[in-house]
């Protein structure tokens, strides 16, 4: 299977890469990988199936909180081993998948702004659960996540950030592998058929509503995994980490990278990590008052993200991947087979938005 080969090679390369990077870079890489899990899932939902979700930040919260709860609960009961992490992450994925199924069923008949509005309300409403169940979830303050140091077998000086990067990269590679296969499968074609023309799909015997719900569930599972990784990276969970802005950032990653393309999700996730860092580096060189620097810190990237979203959507709805495609069209014929391969692996690179 070609995808499996690609996945193995990228995993090996990434593993090697983590040894070359310092802990801070490893942490950035881990963050991008964690974003990628959710962004890739969202790509399948928006780009391939045509359902917009603004609620993926909330699904990530459902992936993250169980990690904290299960890790801490097991630690309190004296169960302290690396394997508990697998259980916690699975619990997170399961919780997010369950919420995804519920939202997916509610959303199955909705389109356009109605679907966007419903998922937006989900994104705004879910963080309030932390306050509502403050006894367990500790409100705005959130929970810390009990984590063991990296396994001793990795050596005594193994940085914790590299261990986090391994976990997040494993999650991202696994997600990409599964989604790439899914997009090339019969189910992938079904998803696209429903996106392109619901009536035609229905006439062709495709159960439209079930397909849409399934797309939501798959995408929610990815968001759950992503949220679980964020819990591991931050070693804490709180509602403010999963606010509406997170959902909008994910949307940005998916749109700027190129709707409908998993490769685009990679570009988008890197952008989410690199842009704030670039802005910080840039403003650090300027002589600014501490107050102004603080105001710029979170907000300048936000403004740039917003501007990017608007500009990309108006000027280049195909995103980075669409632009690459355009450039690759003009390379000499010798490279043509490679280009074709790339196109196919990119799946349903989306013409929908240019239509």
């Amino acid at each position: 299977m070609r995808n499996l080969g690609i996945a193995a090679v990228s995993a090996a390369l990434l593993l090697a890469l983590t040894y070359l990077l310092d802990p801070f870079r490893d942490y950035q890489l881990a963050t991008a990988a964690a974003y990628l899990c959710a962004a890739a899932g969202l790509t399948v939902l928006i780009g391939v199936n045509g359902q917009l979700s603004l609620g993926h930040g909330a699904l990530m919260a459902f992936g993250a909180y169980p990690v904290a709860l299960v890790q801490n609960e097991l630690a309190d009961r004296g169960v302290s081993a690396q394997w508990t992490l697998a259980v916690s992450v699975l619990a997170g994925v399961a919780a997010a998948t369950a919420l995804g199924a519920v939202v997916g069923v509610a959303a199955a008949r909705l389109h356009g702004p109605y679907l966007a509005g419903l998922t937006l309300v989900v994104a705004v409403a879910v963080p309030s659960l932390a306050t509502l169940f403050g006894g367990v979830l500790h409100g705005d303050q959130g929970l810390s996540v009990y984590l063991l140091p990296p396994p001793a077998a990795l050596g005594p000086d193994f940085p914790f950030e590299r261990w986090q990067a391994w976990l997040a990269l494993a999650a991202a590679v696994l997600t990409m592998l599964l989604l790439a296969n899914l997009m090339r499968s019969r189910f992938g074609r079904t998803l696209r058929a429903v996106r392109d023309d619901e009536v035609a799909a229905r006439l062709a015997g495709i159960p439209v509503a079930r397909t849409r719900v399934l797309a939501f569930v798959v995408s929610a599972a990815c968001a759950g995994l992503s949220g679980a990784m964020f819990a591991i990276l931050a070693q804490s969970v709180s509602p403010s980490a999963f606010a509406l802005t997170l959902s909008l950032n994910l949307l940005l990653a998916v749109v700027v990278g190129g709707l409908g393309s998993l490769a685009g999700a990679v570009w988008g996730s890197l952008l989410l990590v690199l842009l704030p860092w670039l802005v910080d580096t840039f403003t650090a060189d300027l002589t600014l008052s501490p107050d102004l620097r603080q105001r710029l810190a979170g907000n300048l990237p936000l403004a740039i993200f917003g501007l990017l979203l608007v500009v990309v959507m108006i000027a280049a709805p195909g995103g980075v991947q669409g632009l690459l495609k355009g450039v690759l069209k003009h390379v000499p014929q010798v490279l043509a087979p490679a280009v074709r391969g790339r196109r196919r692996s990119a799946g349903g690179l989306d013409d929908r938005l240019q239509r």
Binding site: I46, G50, L52, L54, A106, R109, L110, H111, G112, P113, Y114, A116, G117, L118, L120, V121, V122, V124, A125, P127, S128, L129, T131, L132, G134, A243, L244, T245, L248, N249, L251, L252, V255, D291, Q294, R295, L296, G298, N299, L300, P301, L302, A303, I304, F305, G306, L307, L308, L309, V310, M313, I314, P317, R352, L353, R355
Partner: protein, 292 residues
């Protein structure tokens, strides 16, 4: 019983604001089939402007007037500079562009004003006046009711009594025919956005002093409540928006008062899901099915 009276008045007062905000959404939806997801952040921008002007001049009312005027301008600018370019694209594009504006606006506000909450000043007392020993309604509530009522009457008069209103309605229903009859449809759309900007600005000014305060994301919850109100009312109907707003205001007030204030966002979600599943055309829809 006292509590019920208090919650009802409070719900109606909040509902009046949601109604105004929902009206802003409906105005744009009718003309362009776009839900303006940036309506909330646009209102916050004007509210910050009011804050700065009021601080500089020492007068609440100068800030108030400037905010309304800037809402009008902002609405027109957003339509002309941005939304016009996606009006004929698939609906997803307009949603995404509007959300881009949300991030952009919140980022810019954060850069200028920082991310701490600032108090939003109320021009009248928010302490309820008592009638026969029962606290009923505050001066500020009365101001809210009055302002929204004046706004609604003015909008209704604009649409039913003026040539401009006739053009706007015609362009919203039948853009092609309207163009043949000499209506500059593009201009009516700009006007619609401008009007919505003003209405949204007023709603923002009225709602922020009621415990929300000034913050770049302060209108997020108001937006989803007003969106729900607009859907409850049927999205196409200004009168529906009013009723929907009052319904949502009351529901939120009762849930906040009798259950838990942290449960109000979930109540909005429940209400929206219920309406979308049971009566997707809104509570006042006829028999015509609507694709949602």
């Amino acid at each position: 019983m006292d509590r019920f009276v208090f919650l009802t008045v409070d719900g109606l007062s909040r509902g009046a604001v949601y109604a105004a905000f929902a009206l802003a959404l409906v105005l744009i939806w009718r003309g362009t089939r776009i839900i303006n997801f940036a309506q909330g952040v646009m209102a916050v921008v004007t509210a910050y402007l009011a804050y700065s002007i009021s601080n500089a001049t020492g007068s609440y009312w100068v800030g108030f007037i400037v905010a309304l005027a800037s809402g009008l301008v902002l609405g027109a600018v957003v339509e002309l500079a941005v939304m016009r370019r996606v009006e004929h694209a698939p609906p997803l594009n307009a949603v995404i562009v509007a959300l881009g504006l949300v991030l952009f606006g919140q980022g810019v506000l954060g850069m200028i004003y920082g991310n701490q909450y600032r108090p939003a000043e109320a021009p009248f007392s928010r302490v309820a006046m008592t009638v026969a020993g029962v606290p009923v309604v505050s001066r500020y509530d009365l101001f809210v009711f009055g302002a929204v009522l004046v706004l609604m009457l003015a909008v209704a008069a604009l649409f039913t009594r003026t040539a401009t209103g006739l053009r706007m309605r015609a362009a919203a229903f039948e853009p092609m025919v309207s163009r043949l009859l000499g209506v500059n449809v593009a201009r009516t759309l700009t006007l619609g956005w401008a009007l919505a900007g003003l209405v949204g600005a007023l709603a923002g000014l009225l709602v922020l002093p009621t415990g929300l305060g000034l913050h770049p994301t302060a209108m997020d919850l108001v937006f989803v409540s007003a969106f729900t109100a607009a859907v409850v009312g049927g999205l196409d109907s200004p009168a529906g928006a009013v009723v929907g707003g009052l319904v949502v205001g009351l529901v939120l007030s009762y849930v906040g008062g009798y259950v838990d204030s942290a449960a109000t966002p979930l109540a909005v979600l429940g209400l929206l899901v219920a309406v979308l599943l049971v009566r997707p055309g809104g509570l006042f829809s006829g028999t015509t099915a609507r694709r949602v």
